[in-house]
């Protein structure tokens, strides 16, 4: 894998690696992709199985229910006047 492509993937995934990690992960990934390429020789006309079982249609009725621990949700993050604080835009 070209360095440029590898860097592009890191950027999309919002990851940064130190030198040791980079060296190891890059070569691992090349090896793994090589391993995945083995499926090229399999010929198939099946439809993609997005799930292993048939999942029948089931929809939720449009009814309002209040979650019973909103404070428990908000307690997980930093708050400011009832808002959840996020990073700078």
């Amino acid at each position: 894998m070209e360095d440029r492509e590898f860097d592009r993937l890191l950027k999309i995934a919002r990851l940064k690696l130190n030198d040791t990690e980079r060296k190891r992960i890059k070569s691992d990934i090349e090896e793994i992709i090589g391993y995945f390429d083995k499926i090229d020789v399999i010929s198939t006309h099946e439809r993609p199985a997005y799930q292993p079982i048939h999942v029948p249609t089931r929809l939720r009725k449009d009814e309002i229910a209040h979650f019973d621990d909103v404070d428990g949700l908000k307690r997980q993050s930093k708050l400011h006047n009832g808002y959840i604080l996020g990073p700078k835009l």
């Binding site: 993937l9 995934a13 995945f36 198939t44 089931r58 997980q76 993050s77 604080l85 700078k88």
Partner: protein
């Protein structure tokens, strides 16, 4: 073997039983690291202790899925399985068990402090439900709610000599399960007997209005007279494992017709499995960014891209590897070649295995090698490591129920075998192993909480 649950419930216990249990568990845990959290102030009254894998949300209990990214995450809700266990009344929660980060591992070592094999702490516990298996092998009366994506129940159960039951995909609600790969994740059970596993299964399974994929309602018990051994897979087993397994087949041969068959497509199950798993995992892990829950990066003056990138450094090595690979696989330019193709191969596997499983169970060793030492596992490359999932991936990718049971002890370490059946025929597996337990006594080194 009788049900431990029934035995326990029918027995007088001293009033300080649960506090003593927690104390002893705490002590033993410092060597085996089965638990991330042990509940000390239990109000249990004649209830069977149960543990949950650390990727299953328990209200008010720090649930990290083995990841630094989730340190400090205290779910404000219970997973459906937890809710059902508590509501049933016979069970009390004792703690959350160790695991590979987000379930990414075969041996339990991809986390800060790995769990250790309950039979010998120099050895690997197996993964990713490492703690569930070790806890089950440590505690005399206990059941574990574990989870498997590609063998994470079977492998550690086999290495710790316990029963590991992975139900059909969609038989048990995943609501409250911290996702690894949504189309592969299955909540299951570890126990010291098949009857216990069955008891828990009946409590946790069934339709849930919070998980549309929980769609397997009716569970059957179609008994099978044949056991199929798949040639292509058995070839991958180490000779020592193979010879032990042959001995098992000899024993089973008295009751079942044993047939070796060829199923070519299963030589290529590992690649599509990991492709699907990584594609889905890389989307599931996008949400961990250091401000909504869990790890707090805190530098709110940093621009969001830098903020996210810094925060996400806390993922472990294997998680990073899988995020990068998953991101690659999903790229529009290669998606058809990897992701879509893998899904098509999954359908082929489902079709072919489905046909065979109509006629009989598929049986195999659970792991192709004897229990490895932790030090040896650390030397494996990812591809070498993934290849060791050879027996657990076929049922996992196809959503078929499978069950691991201990069948031999070599150098005082347990060895497990795995049987697979058709989708929704889960009871037949439990019946199979119940029968096995009539003639085979499971052995444990620890029996914490004995009466």
């Amino acid at each position: 073997m009788a049900s431990h649950i029934r035995e326990f419930l029918g027995h007088e216990k001293p009033s300080d039983y649960y506090s003593k249990l927690a104390e002893e568990l705490e002590r033993t845990n410092s060597e085996y690291h089965a638990f991330n959290v042990i509940k000390k102030d239990t109000e249990a009254k004649n209830q069977v202790p149960f543990s949950t894998k650390a990727n299953i949300c328990v209200k008010g209990v720090e649930t990290t899925a083995g990841s630094k990214m989730l340190r400090g995450y205290v779910p404000p809700f219970n997973a459906t399985v937890v809710e059902r266990m508590l509501k049933e009344g016979s069970f009390s929660f004792i703690g959350e068990t160790n695991m590979d980060e987000f379930g990414f591992g075969t041996f339990g070592i991809n986390t800060e402090v790995p769990a250790r094999n309950a039979f010998d702490s120099r050895y690997a516990a197996g993964g990713s439900s490492s703690g569930s298996a070790v806890a089950t092998a440590l505690l005399k009366y206990h059941v574990a709610i574990a989870e498997s994506t590609g063998g994470s129940i079977s492998t550690p159960a086999a290495l710790n000599g316990v029963v590991g039951f992975t139900p059909t995909y969609g038989a048990v609600s995943r609501y409250g399960l911290i996702d690894y790969a949504n189309s592969l994740d299955k909540i299951g059970i570890m126990a010291r007997s098949s009857d216990d596993a069955r008891g828990v299964f009946d409590v946790i399974r069934g339709r849930d209005n919070y998980d549309v994929t929980c769609a397997i309602e009716k569970i059957t018990n179609n008994k099978k007279g044949k056991l199929f051994v798949i040639e292509e897979l058995l070839e991958k087993a180490d000779p020592k494992i193979r010879s032990e397994f042959e001995r098992l087949l000899d024993k089973l041969g008295k009751e079942y017709e044993i047939k070796t068959i060829s199923m070519n497509i299963l030589s290529d199950a590992i690649e599509p499995y990991y492709i699907i798993a990584m594609a889905e995992a890389s989307t599931n892990l996008a949400k961990y960014n250091g401000y909504k829950y869990g790890f707090q990066y805190g530098e709110f003056n940093r621009r969001y891209n830098d903020f996210f990138t810094e925060a996400r450094s806390n993922f472990g090595m294997e998680a990073k590897r899988r995020i990068i690979l998953g991101t690659f696989i999903r790229s529009e330019s290669v998606k058809a070649r990897y992701y879509t193709k893998a899904l098509m191969i999954r359908q082929m596997i489902i079709n072919e295995m489905g046909k065979v499983l109509k006629d009989g169970f598929v049986i195999s060793p659970t792991l192709p090698i004897p229990t490895p030492k932790i030090a040896d596992v650390e030397k494996l490359t990812p591809v070498q490591n993934y290849a060791l999932d050879v027996f657990t991936i076929p049922p996992s990718i196809g959503g078929f129920p499978h069950l691991t049971f201990p069948y031999a002890y070599v150098n005082e370490m347990p060895i497990g075998a795995q049987i697979i059946t058709e989708q929704a025929n889960d009871y037949a597996l439990l019946d199979f192993s119940s029968k096995w337990e009539e003639s085979f006594q499971y052995k444990y080194k620890h029996n914490i909480g004995s009466l």
